[in-house]
Assembly symmetry: D3
Homo-oligomer: 339 residues x 6
């Protein structure tokens, strides 16, 4: 039974070096389309849901190509408008072994960031929708984008559309315009049902440090603090990542609700990583799919973690795997060639 | 002292996605030539033997390219005829980490499958030959191919040409035409000297389950059952593969003969795998080389296992390494740059 | 405070197979510029020093391209002259798993090897310079190159320019012209301040075997023997490499001085290796940077080892990372995406 | 004012050699999605119309990729179903100078050709639609596809949906199943409003030779004969192509209606051609756009010819240019860089 | 006898589609470094002069790569500073046949445009220099860049450094900030010795239309008007381009001085064009080389035209050919393979 | 009725820049196998003849790859031995428009050039052979290669094997060792039946200038002089090439025999050229095929010219087209897509 999702956020182009080269070591960029919320939209569409992306792109071939790529993967792009401004870009130097990957953004002045928040007719955009998904990248882009995200969440709450919010705290973006991160994020969290965040995100929002002994305890404490601060909030979920090297991580996950907490069934070793970017978005999409499909919290979390793990095997920002692929990994975990 | 080998089977084109991408994630296919028996032929030619491929290809540029590629690697293609029908293709989505590689065949209606079994003049094709190599893929392709394989094995036995047969059980191919796998395979096994198979292959042929406690015991039991059922059969060899992840396997091997059994010297960790396809064929070619070169069973098995391991380091279906390369790995196992 | 370095040696083109293919498995070469001393020059330039390459290249597009590539990465190429002869090439088959990488040289008759040793005006080339860097590849190229290297070292010593020498013993090159390796190398070592070499290199030079129980002890003994033989020598440094497989090495390092010895802080696991070539040169450049920057021996060694480790993450012969990147790895070792 | 179009036909993958190489001269295929009717659909979508593709694709990654590519370019793929059978392929050796390009089809047994004609619910598929576009490729694929095309045209006529039909006579396809081309094509033409065909196509359908002195006269005579045979037919349009070499063609166009005939304004020299495939489909889409947009016959023909010319400048089967691009060429014809 | 040149302007990255594809038709950009003045600098360096680029780049890997590329081709980049702001980009859709190439700029907010004009110490930068080269792109980038260009020209005139100015009128850039093009350009022209411009450029500056019957007459009239308006101006040179199609242009050139005018020896047909971008800059560099080398006006113009023609044969913005290559074309015009 | 050919000469690797780039403008080489005589062998094999290549290659992966490539295209490589020395290379900068392609050889010290002429057992190699093909490149490589070519021709004449010789005069190769070109070439021509040469080649051999008014007359005079000097010579054939630009040539051909002369039917315009290298070898192979197949001189010449023209359409040194393709061009000259 597919659900209806709306994702709101900036669609970006990733320009990256091929192989494991340094940026422009050879004169070529591999291009992928991404953006935290668009990644979620693509994944949900691949899982069989009706997923629409809302936002603004420049009226040029780059914007058109980005929208086309979302459409290709099944996302409804009818609410992706065009407007003045440039295409948001980010540049990736893919890392290896002990050399971390490096991302730098080139998204200032983007059509999305410049868009008037009043141009979004939220009641119309959210009519008949089950879930609205937002992320902390959007309010970090500037006053206009923040206002739009806040309005979207408020309208959703008013209309009975559930709100999913992924913290995605990006200090550099906030610093660039000296935005009031805690103040703006609180306005979104006030209308959020499902929050993807860990203790560090919550520390930013609430101004509290979480110094419990273990990561699990810190996440638990942060969740409880969040529940206290935001009465409408129902769940907080997060992956827990250990980095042995750039190519070798381990991933587990935890979801806390008002009446309990679940852990994913075990931690997964991921090596060698093909592309780590978008794994958090794949996790969010997986958990959303699980909850929207009626799985219990534990099963939804495992599905989300499975999706996050599988994302590491794919070049690009999108998790292109279907729900069957994720389920096969979660339930069987067979690794030989399928013929 | 080189030996003379004839390999009979379908030559295929592999169309795969570059990097670790999904199929057609970007609009390009990398092409390799393969086919279980052709892989063995190439490997044997690289080991210095006279290896000929027998079969039928379409009379178009794809068929010509496939034959040319075999010739390039030293295989005698004079007995690769052309006939009506299409080129057999298979498509590969290369996997990574927890995402298994996926192969789907597009070989229905191929020139090889459509070829009249009477077109092969086996006494002429096998004159002066030491070994005939077949695999279970061929009878799985349909009545005609099965009849040809059975006739080849029978003629070989009659002429004193030793027969090597690699089980390669492919359920989907058999199901597509509801072929009588056990019945047809038995006719080949009746004339087989050296069998590459494990307990699961033998279960299909003999209709018996092998439930011994360990894999080694199951292989042993299956071999004994095979020796009982097929009086002409002399040896059964198999690799034993453990899959930690898509990129990390461990491989050992076992060969059972009527008067004993040998294990390879230790198991090899293989990570990160470059291309796992064709490893079984590299193993078969390695064992054949060992036996044909007068090595004892243990040394032949180690050589086969070494060849199988090294195949994982090479893109494509073929093991392009020479006998010296395999011997260097088996005997020294040095891993730094050779200058 | 940048220092001034002169590197003297042959600049080569590397022609390698893409991916992990065999040479000419597909009809393409990826090209990188390299050469033991040029690799050091590039790395030092990236670390912020003034690094000049001295040598001779052919007067053709290959020579021009090689010089251009050095210039691109910040090396001063004004002393890279042109002369009769060909471009030195080397061909690389990149290995994987259990299949070692293979290099073969095609540098006979190169413009560098043919260059008259008298064409180098060493007093002018070394005026105002802090360090001269040489390697054992140069004397191995033939009488003329050996004479030039010996003259360079002698002039440097005379002018108070410190001399760094990397053993880089290449038996095949010496054998090609039956050069007297010990005799010629001794003439360079007599004027060397900092020697990159291990016990095997010293065995060649001194004609002594070092059979101590551990590698550490052998290196220590070799260093002491070197100090005894060459009164001007101050330090001997080397990496210690363990090869688990072609893709997985472990690296630590040791530096011995007349009054002590230091070990790097721990050994680093490197997997999966992107490109191992040039790691030794990256180490030399790192140690030189450390010493030239006033670090103590331990810190300089750790910096060198960090540079060597990071080089494994980059395609090509050059270590393109900056001093900050190396310091970040040495001091923090964080592996997640930097945004 | 956009119109609504439905295109019915097989969607294919084109696998071609890169550059101007022979097929598999190097081991790679460049992949494009095509198919006569899908090419029209993409072009119409790019011109701003609502264009839907109807058909059947295999339920595998190739079928999914093909549908995704149509969606990417704005085609409505909700009526692209999946069914048993394989993906239709065609292989292209791109020609040059005096060496003609070569196409061979590998589409036997495709999901489209095997699809039961009853699975298409034409009244539903055509509800509210302005134009149905078909081509002569579809009935050439076999009895089932022919029946479906005939039913589609008949339903369209009955519902007042205009029918556009592009002759696209492919003798090899008809011969493969000995289909009654004239008989089946007549059933479609009986319900056609706008026919893309020349005198050779009409000769096949009507069994008459057109031997007038000039091509223009033959086209005129063929059109008049078609109007006589098919009372519902309103217009016949065709390009007229002269081939100076593989890379240099000249193109003009002619449209005949019951009450007159128009010629395009002049002939266009096209050199050097980038990719000629799909130019006829671009022409059909251009004429359809012109007529649907209310242009008179001459202007619609010029627009169609402009679209056809521009298609030659683009790799792949699709004409990806917008109506503004075509208009700019038709009305201004400026060739310098647009900044 | 090499001269010393300083070029001042923005260095850009060009991101273009491969082959003749539409932008992002496949997910890849080919990257070239360019910029009107940098193109001149590279060409002059290739002709053997000392050429330095002055400007500001962002302090990120893109800026570093751009500077490295200039250095690779022999340009002195010591006066290329870094500063706040982004990298200037432009996107190129390469055209073909009747489809014009399209460039769109993404350079707003670049480090160069944001740079404070006071940061350039022109007396120091121009000390000992023979020529300063500027173009009309720089003042079009905004108030700061315009002020810097004006100051540069004024300082040069004061110091006796000759000033070369290439009109390069880009209406879209001026419109973006409503800059007073005539007013600002006049301040540069007042100090210009050699002007690359045609009658359209002069119409913008002087506010006069030039309606003479032929292009030659209009250029002549514009030059005379320029000489009248700017007493220090010595010469005006321009190419005259006829566009038969996107791939086929014809090029001739004219230079007017106070005491006469010269035409290039004949017009050159250029087909098929590989890359037309940068041809004007190659012309400017060629004329500058000719004049700086003491050629008379006719020979300098022919050299400039030859350089412009040859640029069309090379991918990228730079003319990488040497003075000998240009001379060989101008004087011999042989077209067969040189061995 | 296929004939048996032996081609003797050096097999080379071509390393070229991709696209129309300068050498190493981007860090990649495209690799093709070539060599004047090997090109003829491949073409003859493609035309259906038995063609063997005789020569010596280095015992390394480059030599093995070159032999494999010949085998792939149907050439018998059993007489391609290995020996000491390096692989002969040549580097190609592909030209365009007015910029000529540039080749430089890097073949000094090759295994072929170093091979002892006594290692070729010509009576055995030529047993049962119809034609021996040689070219002027071989004697130009040095004393040993010259001796081998002279011995081959003499043995052939003695055994009744016809000798075909292609002048291919390469001044730079002769100058490198100051070889006596006229003296050595005469020894080969004394045993030649069919000579591919023009008046410039004959001027070198005979020391006479041919100053007739037209090229045709000069070729005629040169042929008559050759017939006078070499009594065994039966025919002289040559192409006549006009170069409008690097991308546009025109080609016709002429063959003179003792009793007459024939011209090809018309001249062919070739534009835009894909790859001109190997066209002369394609011509030689075409004429040889024609004569060996019993065509009259005119038809053989037309076939040769057709093959030469078609070669220009193909990347690489080899003409990969079959006899049917050539005949289709010669007899029909149709240029549209073949389906």
């Amino acid at each position: 039974m597919p659900s209806r999702f709306v994702c709101f956020g900036e669609v970006l182009l990733r320009l990256g070096a091929p192989g494991r080269q340094m940026l422009l070591q050879s004169p070529q960029f591999e291009v992928f389309v991404g953006g935290a919320e668009a990644n979620v939209a693509v994944s949900l569409a691949r899982f069989g849901h009706a997923a629409a992306q809302v936002g603004v792109l420049p009226d040029n071939p780059l914007g058109a190509a980005a929208a086309g790529e979302l459409r290709r993967h099944g996302v409804d792009t009818r609410a992706l408008a065009t407007g003045p401004g440039r295409m948001g870009l980010y540049f990736l130097t893919p890392g290896a072994v002990h050399r971390p990957s490096e991302v730098f953004y080139d998204r200032a002045g983007s059509a999305f960031a410049l868009a008037d928040p009043d141009r979004y007719d939220w009641p119309a955009l959210l009519a008949g929708v089950d879930w609205l998904h937002l992320s902390g990248v959007t309010p970090a882009l500037g006053e206009r984008a923040a206002a739009a995200a806040i309005a979207a969440a408020a309208t959703a709450r008013r209309l009975g559309v559930k709100v999913s919010f992924d913290g995605n705290y990006r200090p550099k973006l906030w610093e660039a315009w000296r935005g009031d991160a805690p103040g703006l994020l609180k306005q979104i969290l006030a209308n959020t049902d499902l929050l993807f965040a860990d203790h560090r995100d919550m520390a930013v929002v609430l101004g509290t440090e979480f110094n419990e002994a273990t990561t699990e305890a810190r996440v638990e404490a942060a969740a409880r603090a969040a529940f206290a601060a935001f009465p409408g909030l129902g769940r907080l979920a997060t992956t827990l990542r250990t980095q042995h090297s750039v190519d070798h991580h381990a991933l587990c996950a935890r979801m806390v609700s008002r009446d309990g907490a679940v852990c994913a069934t075990g931690s997964h070793e991921i090596a060698p990583i093909v592309d780590r970017i978008g794994a958090g978005d794949a996790f969010a999409a997986g958990v959303l799919h699980g909850l929207a499909s009626g799985l219990d919290d534990g099963a939804a979390l495992n599905f989300g973690l499975g999706a996050a793990c599988l994302k590491h095997s794919l070049p690009g920002d999108f998790n292109l795997l279907g729900a069957d692929d994720v389920a096969a990994f979660v339930h069987q975990g067979r690794f030989d060639v399928r013929r």
